[in-house]
Symmetry: C2
């Protein structure tokens, strides 16, 4: 162990706290309120340390979205390996995917997407991130369902499932939509099971 | 005809232009930029006249959303009566509903919903509007599909269709998603037709 490691560890921990605080701040306080200073305060980090890691607000926000997205996808993939096969698996998978779209990370991303709609410079930074997120969630859903992505019907049904999950996410932003959502997810999983070509 | 009518007509036309300009401004310039002054300028109306109609920004924005929503729903209902029965009707209905969620009115509403997520006073005004919009779109979709809303499966499938349409709307905010969307709508219409109980 060299003497540099503890300092590197501290720096990594500071960075991690800042990224988490940024998502939290976006989801609860919105786009306008999420500055480097506000995130530093929420993370219990000095403004100077925060600006050392992230000189500009856009750097902090895109890093936070990407880091937290990668972490969530790794979690969902790990959960997927623990789900039992057979009846109920499709509903369990759709539930996991919908959980992602109704969580704080989605609410944070929504603030950024919506700000980018009216800000061409921000839009240019966010469009590649949106494409990456879309591709990855699709890939994770295909893997978890054990579905054949080369079949056009399967591909479109999985995409429709993700669009439905995204719509459920948006329906949960102002009010708790979970009681309605539960029934929709169960119905969708049944319909998806009937519609996906066999054998998977 | 009394002498008051032309003045009332002018006032109504001014109000209409302001409401349209507000939706346009929200969809393209975003929440922060959409002030009474900005909408007045876009509508070619004096600031004084705009403030006579709408003293506060929130009054203008909620009036614009509600007025334009009612107008769009009336249009969709009228289109519905002209759609032929038989094969292809479900896809035509889903297409109309998705068109609503991918239009400027949805993009304007998204700006307001997202701002309301971080603003408790605004949220209180928007939640009843969201509930009204949700009920009405559901009712319109049921009517256009000729579906039986008392059947729980039907009810959930129509709700899921609206959630999917909302998700497609969100996927269209930063980039033109129409080529992908077309295939998803066609696939889902087919799946919905197979899944809805007969006879309708």
């Amino acid at each position: 162990m060299t003497s540099r490691e503890p300092k590197q560890d501290r720096s990594r921990a500071t960075r991690q706290r800042l990224l988490e605080a940024t998502i939290d701040c976006l989801a609860t306080q919105g786009w306008d309120a999420t500055t480097v200073t506000a995130a530093a305060q929420r993370a219990g980090v000095s403004r100077g340390a925060a600006q050392h890691h992230f000189p500009a607000r856009e750097d902090l926000i895109t890093a936070a979205l990407e880091h937290m997205f990668d972490a969530r996808m790794a979690e969902i993939r790990a959960e997927g390996t623990r789900l039992p096969d057979g009846p109920g698996r499709t509903e369990a998978v759709v539930t996991r995917v919908v959980d992602y779209f109704t969580g704080d990370l989605f609410k944070a991303a929504l603030q950024v997407w919506t700000a980018a709609a009216a800000d061409p410079a921000l839009r240019e930074r966010i469009v590649p991130l949106e494409a990456k997120f879309g591709r990855t969630v699709h890939q994770v859903a295909i893997e978890m369902l054990g579905a054949d992505d080369t079949d056009p019907t399967t591909r479109r049904l999985v995409q429709a499932t993700l669009d439905m999950a995204r719509g459920l996410g948006l329906a949960d932003v102002l009010t708790d939509d979970s009681p309605r959502r539960k029934n929709i997810v169960a119905q969708w999983a049944k319909t998806l099971d009937d519609a996906l070509p066999d054998p998977r």
